[in-house]
């Protein structure tokens, strides 16, 4: 590609680069940190950057929000909005279940650090009380 061609391509894909940067950040927090709550925060950041990945291509410069009205003719694409709305709600459902699991892990192992839990798992585990 010619230098100006490359520059144009990079300029047009700028939103993708930002999104991928946020995605890498979320992924890094998810993998690299041992604390379970921090992992869930990283997962949330990762999910949010994926929402941006879907919504950014739907925007048309000069368009407006997809609410029909006689004053506007160009609208941004409503389809990604619908998908991401569902994704956000499913994401919070996953988060609630993950946090419930973390609370139970804390009660069973008395720690929410991944290394300590794996170490405890190798040895005897404190049994849960009889139901």
């Amino acid at each position: 590609m010619t230098p100006t061609g490359t520059a144009l391509t990079l300029g047009g894909h700028f939103t993708y680069f930002i999104t991928i940067f946020l995605m890498i950040g979320g992924l890094f927090i998810l993998i690299a940190r041992g604390n379970l709550i921090k992992k869930l925060v990283g997962l949330g950041i990762f999910q949010t950057s994926v929402y941006l990945l879907y919504i950014a291509p739907g925007k048309l410069v000069g368009g407006t929000a997809p609410i029909l009205s006689d004053a506007f003719t160009v609208y941004s694409n409503p389809l990604p909005h619908v998908l991401i709305l569902t994704a956000i709600v499913v994401g919070v459902a996953t988060l609630a279940l993950g946090l419930a699991l973390v609370v139970r892990i804390r009660e069973a192992y008395d720690s929410i650090e991944e290394d300590e839990i794996l170490g405890l798992d190798a040895g005897p585990v404190r049994h849960e009380e009889a139901r």
């Binding site: 929000a65 609410i67 709305l85 956000i88 709600v89 609630a96 419930a100 609370v103």
Partner: protein, 141 residues
């Protein structure tokens, strides 16, 4: 937090407006941004706010556990019920055209009931999850 005067007064002033805004978002979801999910979350947030300031016992008196649990299931039932109503009236499942003689009004009716079902389930679930988390910390009872 019950003894902090500023928090109590601000909560008492804000909570009715939050509830009203939640209802506005629900019913104006057709004309502006909004709809079932946002409204359900806002309504649950109002009750969670009340529970944070005044304590879990007062929140449970306001919205008992049985009501919250039935709200969770009721919303999904309403949604499925709209679909079955479409079946009974001669169309396909979740077909809104047959819900009324004028097919556009049928769409309006279908969307209205569906959004109510969604808001009920979402607010019930959010509230129930908050109740579960808040209740778990009471170890010494």
């Amino acid at each position: 937090m019950r003894n902090d005067l500023v928090l109590r007064v601000v909560a008492k002033l804000l909570i009715p407006f939050i509830l009203l805004f939640g209802l506005y978002v629900q019913f104006h979801g057709d004309f502006g941004p909004g709809g079932g999910f946002q409204a359900g979350v806002i309504l649950a947030a109002a009750v969670i706010f009340y529970g944070l300031i005044y304590g879990l016992a007062d929140a449970l008196k306001l919205v008992p556990e049985a009501v919250v649990e039935s709200m969770m299931a009721l919303g999904v039932l309403i949604y499925g019920g709209v679909g079955v109503a479409g079946l009974l009236l001669g169309g396909n499942y979740l077909d809104y055209f047959v819900l009324d003689s004028n097919s556009v009004l049928g769409q309006h009716r279908g969307i209205f009931w569906v959004e109510i079902g969604v808001a009920t389930t979402v607010s019930g679930v959010m509230l129930k999850i908050y109740y579960m988390f808040a209740d778990r910390g009471n170890v010494d009872e």
